[in-house]
Amino acid sequence: MRTRLGGAVRAALLPLVGALLAGCSTLPQTPLDPKGPVAQTQTGLLLYTLYVAVGIGVGVTAALLYVVFRFRARPGQVGVPLQIRGNHTLEIIWTIIPILILISVAFPTVEAAISTSAPPSGALTVRATGYRWWFAFEYPELGIVTANELRIPAGRPVRLEITSNDVIHSFWVPKLAGKTDMIPGRINVTWMQADEPDVYLGQCAEFCGDSHANMRFRVVAMSQADFDAWVTHRQAMKQGPGQLAEAAAAGKALFESPAPGGNCLSCHTVDGTPAQGKVGPNLTDVGQRSTIAAGILENDYESLKAWVKNPTDFKPGTTMPSHARLSEKDLDAIVQYLQSLK
């Protein structure tokens, strides 16, 4: 399906729909612009059914308009119209035609359901866990843990083991693969693949409470070489941050001091340091991520500071407490420390 029928239909009509929808091709979160085999299969089906639906819809609407105008009551009409009980031939015809159309969808559906479910061999395994309201990503084979920004090698399938730590979430990167629910107490296995290096947007798709809308993430697909380099670098970071500038060092101390200091360590982990909290995202490589707060803020100095000071301004209901009691100087130090983690 993904190859023949869907491919042909998509090739013919994607530009049309794309133009219709936005008039530009830079929309970051649309499933209509698939960038990997799983999404391509799914979108192929989506478009095939869409065109069938549009075709039938136009046909029925035309018929409706015709009937309504053709048989409207006219002045001077006398008598009553002929009362017709039904017509078996017609009824059989319009039972059989839909059945044929459905069969034409049924086969590719089953084929696609199977082909998108099991990851191919040679895939890189990532365990994605949903939290209220952020994502943790763990590479069990590589010994790396990160959050909210998933780095993957382009062109290689990624086997995803998906679960949740609290309520049900749903893992969705429209350009790479449809949703898979993240369910507590259960691991769902699925896969995706990005054909080209790029950044792909994702968002939690299952309502999960207050800040469901603020539960976004990014998938960064890199060339295999870049990815390998990142893995090596990231594995080295497990030794800890190393030599820090003065302000950053002060920030580190605050980060690790219990309340009423920063008390960040009770929730966050920074590899190679005393901070080993498991409640919030792992911050070992936070300095290299493009966004913070699960994709809702750019990772820059001001946002970072504002976030640490008052997270609920950005993410209602978040379990991360406010740090407004810290002085500007302390906040600055903490931000410097976070930015140095890369």
Binding site: V17, L21, L27, T30, P31, L32, T41, Q42, T43, L45, L46, T49, A53, V54, G57, V60, A63, L64, V68, F71, R72, A73, V80, P81, Q83, I84, R85, G86, N87, E91, T95, P98, V105, T109, A113, I114, T116, S117, I168, S170, W172, A177, G178, K179, T180, I183, P184, G185, R186, N188, T190, L201, Q203, A205, F207, C208, H212, A213, P316, G317
Partner: protein, 628 residues
């Protein structure tokens, strides 16, 4: 006017014929129908205001009109209200008022149970909304979605009383709905006019029959789910507690084995209404009656075979997903057949563009669009992209507004003269229709694009730059037009109700038995119950076509007609469970008087049952022609 029968029991029965108490104590299906209609319309407006607030918040990216928590409460309550307190009871209003008239009966089978259904609906509806008085910030308004998925609804993740109001309120509503279901089935099977075999019933009656059957099989499932949820929350049971081995997916199966058939509860009676309106206003017989009957029954049955299509993304595996894809697609067949039959019904007719007809035609157009997007969801791999996006929101609204609400408006314009003895103003009616039609498409069609552009549903805000701004703004504008249409309708009702009651008995050249009665019908409905020889008997009675013997009137009843007496026991019986539910709330609030309140609820219910069984025999004897 009416002669009260001797009181034989232990309690005197109320007999007031007018005023407040006459409505509280009524057991007349027509009054109960009106009560349902007015109450449900009120809740429909509440749900509409909730929707409007949501659309304002979403008009632009990053707006802060309402907080995240309030938004979540709004969409939860909007859906809950629209489905359970708006559309279902609006349809119930039609069923209650019309069912006995359509089959030539004097009332439903169990008139006091019918009153009970209404009161528990009212109490349940109020119960669910009480949280608004307590504010959204502390989570006392339900805000975990109208599906209330475990474990988001556990105390751990929703500590406020919101889910408690929601579960207990829905349990109350469920009782009333189930009771109605049984009542209608018994009525239809036992109380048809002589000669009206099942295959001669008006098609609307068939849809009521099938809907009632769906209710009876579907509601137990959600009742179980809700009771388990209640136990989890109030009494720390572990049904859905993952750490204790509970399963959250189990809740979804229970919920959707109800939830999917539920959508047919909302749409089948709507189809029934349209199937009555189209033939009358096109002056044609319903095309393919028996096919319509079988497709209705088939849809009712198939509604139970597809629940897992709401769960294509929970990881059931390719085999299960494929099976449910196929069963889901299959429903498109009987549904499609209906659409073609409606078109053929109008074919060769003399279509009068009354407001009722416009809404019925609008129904076909909108429902087709909604059905087609439904067929798109049926393909599991494709649905992985559509699920939980605005594409689904588009589908829901095309089916539920374009389907149910359009049919309801069509039915209102069609039967208003029968119920209130006044014809709604047709000029305002046309405005009503075109504003609602245009507003609805402007509001809901963009959802298709938003969904395809990757906008998830149930989000209170979104980032700019994703291509969603224009469509969201357009949709919000549409809501204003839609709302204007609804306001025109309200104005129409107000204006019309001030006019004298001068509607003829049969303003549209109707086909079914209710049009043989004066408008509004007398309390006893039929002075002489007619004998029916044909489908559309009344029509052929008027336009014989060689079928002179379509309808036959026997000798008038020899004496006055006996009607069931009024009773206050239904209200009291509805009060009992409501008090008990309040007690369970107090358990959650750790109030010491919780248990006594629960007990009090049961005592009230028992007393009411006792009174129900032993109150005076009641009943009123009415001479035909007297009273109305």
């Amino acid at each position: 006017m009416a002669t009260a029968a001797k009181t034989l029991g232990i309690l005197p029965r109320p007999t007031a014929a007018t005023g407040f108490w006459s409505w509280v104590a009524t057991v007349d299906h027509k009054r109960i129908g009106i009560l349902y209609g007015v109450t449900a319309f009120f809740f429909f407006l509440v749900g509409g205001i909730e929707a409007w607030l949501m659309r304002l918040q979403l008009a632009r990216p990053g707006l802060e009109l309402v907080t995240a928590k309030t938004f979540n409460a709004l969409f939860t309550m909007h859906a809950t209200t629209m489905i359970f307190l708006g559309v279902m009871p609006l349809l119930a209003a039609f069923m209650n008022y019309l069912l006995p008239l359509l089959i030539g009966a004097r009332d439903v089978a169990f008139p006091r149970l019918n009153a009970f259904s209404y009161w528990i609906y009212l109490f349940g509806g109020i119960f669910i909304n009480v949280g608004w008085l307590m504010g959204t910030a502390a989570g006392h308004v339900p805000d975990s979605g109208w599906f209330g998925y475990a474990n988001l609804t556990s105390v751990e993740f929703s500590g406020g009383l919101g889910p408690d109001f929601w579960t207990l309120g829905l349990l109350l509503l469920g009782i009333g709905t189930l009771v109605s279901g049984f009542n209608f089935i018994v009525t239809i099977l036992n109380m048809r006019a002589p000669g009206m075999s099942l295959m001669k019933m008006p098609i609307f009656v068939w849809t009521i029959l099938v809907t009632s059957a769906i209710i009876i099989f579907a509601f137990p499932s959600v009742t179980v789910a809700l009771i388990m949820l209640m136990f989890d929350r109030a009494f720390a049971a572990n049904f859905f507690e993952v750490a204790a081995g509970g399963s959250v997916v189990f809740y979804q199966h229970l919920f959707w084995t109800f939830g999917h058939p539920e959508v047919y509860i909302l749409i089948l009676p709507a189809m029934g209404i349209v199937s009555e309106v189209l033939p009358v206003h096109a002056r044609k017989m319903l095309f393919g009656y028996s096919v319509m009957v079988f497709s209705t029954a088939l849809i009712g049955f198939m509604g139970f075979t597809v629940w897992s299509h709401h769960m294509f993304t929970v990881g059931m595996g390719p085999v299960v997903n494929s099976i449910f894809s196929l069963t889901t697609m299959a429903i498109a067949v009987p549904t499609g057949v209906k659409i073609f039959n409606w078109l053929s019904t109008m074919w060769g007719g003399q279509i009068r563009f009354t407001t009722a007809m416009l809404f019925a035609i609008g129904f076909i157009a909108c429902f087709t669009i909604g059905g087609l997007s439904g067929f798109m969801h049926a393909s599991a791999p494709s649905d992985a992209q559509q699920h939980d996006t605005y594409f689904v929101v588009a589908h829901i609204h095309y089916v539920l507004i374009g389907g149910s609400i359009f049919a309801i408006f069509s039915g209102i314009y069609h039967w208003f003269p029968k119920v209130f003895g006044r014809l709604l103003d047709e000029r305002l009616g046309q405005w009503n229709f075109w504003l609602v039609f245009a507003g609805f498409h402007t509001f809901a069609f963009p959802f298709h694009f938003l969904g395809l552009l990757g906008m998830p549903r149930r989000i209170y805000t979104y980032a700019p730059g994703l291509g969603w701004e224009f469509w969201n703004l357009l949709s919000t504008i549409g809501v204003f037009v839609l709302a204007a249409g609804i306001l025109v309708f309200i104005a129409n009702v107000v204006v019309t109700m001030r006019k004298p009651m001068d509607a003829p008995a049969d303003p549209w050249d109707g086909r079914t038995l209710e049009w043989t009665l004066p408008s509004p019908p007398p309390v006893y409905n039929f002075a002489v119950v007619p004998r029916v020889h044909l489908r559309d008997a009344f029509w052929f009675h008027k336009h014989p076509e060689g079928k002179e013997q379509a309808l036959e009137y026997g000798e008038p009843h020899p004496g006055p007609i006996h009607l069931p007496g009024q009773s206050l026991m239904p209200v009291l019986l509805a009060l009992g469970p409501t008090v008990a539910a309040t007690g369970v709330l107090f358990v959650r609030m750790r109030e010491s008087f919780a248990v006594p309140v629960i007990v009090a609820g049961f005592v009230i219910a028992l007393l009411a049952l006792w009174g129900w069984a032993f109150e005076g025999e009641g009943g009123t004897l009415i001479e035909p022609g007297e009273g109305s």
